[in-house]
């Protein structure tokens, strides 16, 4: 187990190096940021100063070595707009995003998993079709549309819930619903198909032969096995929520890292954007490692090599 984690961490470091290299190259391919950041009438001296401040003097190799060297010390540059270290800006915002993720996941699983089980139990019936329709709707509705619709109905028309910014629990409702709707659909579909497969198993037949109640057969023997693919989805969704809450956080003016990404792009804050991408990559690597370790707990057949 320890060796497995150590090896995965090594792989993560290698992967991060690749990500950092790609981010670095892309940053250099999209034009000279100095031209974008300074007004047209800037003096040559201004340009030279800024170029030096951004570590853009020297050859590309020199630039990369400086960039990598600083990155190793936890310095991913300074946000141009906020005049603060990019890493610090990121970690200031991160808790706000992390505050949303568990609720969205909880909503997705609390609705999606039971719906999937019920759909599998009543395969082909109107219940199954209704759950399927909900799933398609959940996947098909883009979050900018759903978010704005929710704001329109519950904030503008009914005035029940706030439409933007962080605050008390009522501020969480609409963003969590917007994020969770997509997850409900995913969890429902994967639970349904996994349950249908598991329910045909011989061990389910043996559980019935023992005389166990249908509740125990379905919700213990079947569901525990069906949760293995659900866990895979879990990893994908957490990663998606970390990277992909950009739209939802922007719609609801939620000060998380999704909105931070959006701001970094809009304001051409390229050191910040570099930092955000690299730090998000670290988070995703961490989540994937966590999910792989969780597998071993849910399915005793998996022994981490």
């Amino acid at each position: 187990m320890k060796r497995y984690i150590a090896r995965r961490l090594m792989q993560g470091v290698a992967l991060l190096f690749v990500v950092a290299t790609i981010v670095f190259i892309l940053g250099r391919l999209t034009g000279n940021p100095v031209d974008l950041m300074l007004p047209e009438d800037a003096t040559a001296e201004d340009r030279a100063n800024l170029t030096r401040a951004l570590d853009l003097d020297g050859t590309l190799t020199d630039q990369f070595l400086i960039f990598a060297g600083k990155a190793l010390h936890g310095d991913l540059g300074t946000s141009i707009r906020m005049k603060q270290p990019a890493v610090q800006v990121f970690f200031d915002r991160l808790p706000n995003t992390l505050a949303l993720i568990p609720w969205a996941l909880l909503l997705g699983m609390a609705l999606g998993i039971p719906l999937g089980v019920v759909a599998a139990l009543h395969r082909g019936s109107w219940l199954d079709r209704a759950a399927g329709t909900v799933a398609v709707l959940g996947i098909a509705m883009p979050s900018f549309w759903l978010g704005i619709l929710l704001i329109f109905v519950f904030s503008v028309e009914l005035g029940w819930l706030p439409s933007s910014r962080m605050g008390g629990p009522e501020h969480y409702v609409l963003p969590v619903i917007t994020l969770g709707t997509f997850l409900v659909a995913g969890f429902m579909r994967i639970t349904r198909s996994a349950m249908l497969e598991v329910m045909e198993s011989e061990f389910v037949k043996l559980a019935r032969i023992k005389g166990l109640s249908e509740t125990t057969v379905i919700w213990k023997h079947c569901l525990r096995n069906a949760l293995i693919p659900v866990l895979t989805l879990w990893g994908v969704f957490v990663s998606n929520l970390i990277t992909g809450a950009i739209v939802t956080e922007t719609v609801f003016a939620w000060p998380g890292i999704g909105r931070l990404t959006y701001e970094a792009v809009i304001f051409r804050d390229f050191p910040l954007l570099q930092a955000v991408i690299i730090l998000k990559s670290i988070l995703i690597l961490g989540v994937n490692l966590g999910v792989d370790i969780l597998y071993a707990y849910v399915d005793p057949r998996i022994r981490l090599p």
């Binding site: 011989e202 061990f203 043996l206 019935r208 032969i209 023992k210 005389g211 166990l212 525990r224 005793p300």
Partner: protein, 330 residues
Amino acid sequence: MSDTPSGDTVLEVRDLHTHFFLRRGVVKAVDGVSFSLKRGEVLGLVGESGCGKSLTALSLMRLLPKGGARTIKGEVLLGGENLLERTPAEMRAIRGRRLSMVLQDPQTSLNPVFTVGDQLREAIERRRKGASLAEIMKEAVAALRRVEIAAPEQRIGQYPHQMSGGMKQRVVGAIAISGEPEVLIADEPTTALDVTIQLQYLKLLKRLQAENGMAILFITHDFGVVGRMCDRVAVMYAGRIVECGPVKQIFEAPSHPYTRALIASVPKMTGTVGRLTTIEGQPPSLMDLPKGCRFASRCGLVEQRCLDAYPATVQVGEAHTADCWKVSPS
């Protein structure tokens, strides 16, 4: 091998019909099966694949596969009460406690994500309501010891994938009999095991049966196993039992041409080495059964009357019957 044991009938199946109702038509997989089982007796149910043996067993358990299978006619009398009239809740109380079953494939019969002890506990708990966990686990260890699993204290905390196939099948056996059922259905329990393990398992089943006096319905396609395990044997063909009688009589003097062909096709260890005897042709489609004898198309002795009508059941000896026009009553 003993003669037919005396004692009360614990299970009686009368004129059981279980059909698959499909869009393409009706598959008459079990089509008028009758037999009875006495206390402490082992009845073999023999026939080739697809003749309806397993579906007969699942009909008795009332655990028919999804997808159109229904028992439409007949009676399954366990201790005199008709199981087909029980409610689902009443059936659950009967399963495991009075009527239990061992499945064919040990690799898939145990739930991979729960420990062996946990799966045994569920079965024992039903008999020992209100007992403490420690008591139940003690009993689970004893149940594993009874099926000859070494170091049961350690095995109890293990998962199925940590055991061999033969060991898993013994665990399945321990689970199936932990409710002390009156009747155990064993559906080809050794088919998926190594030949060397098969004999061990059969001996174990025999011993357990001798210990607690349960009756066993032993489903197999292997006549060799029948000779070792069973007191009586029922031969099934295309959804019906065509011959039934004490093992000795069936082996020495099979009456039905199908039984004779089946016994002839068992490879023998003695005598000249020749070609393996096989039965030519295919069984009839269960969706389109002939009105006459179902074996007629493959039978060497076929006559016009075999094609015209299904033969009546003929008493060929004491407790020995056959459905054939060509046999004469004793």
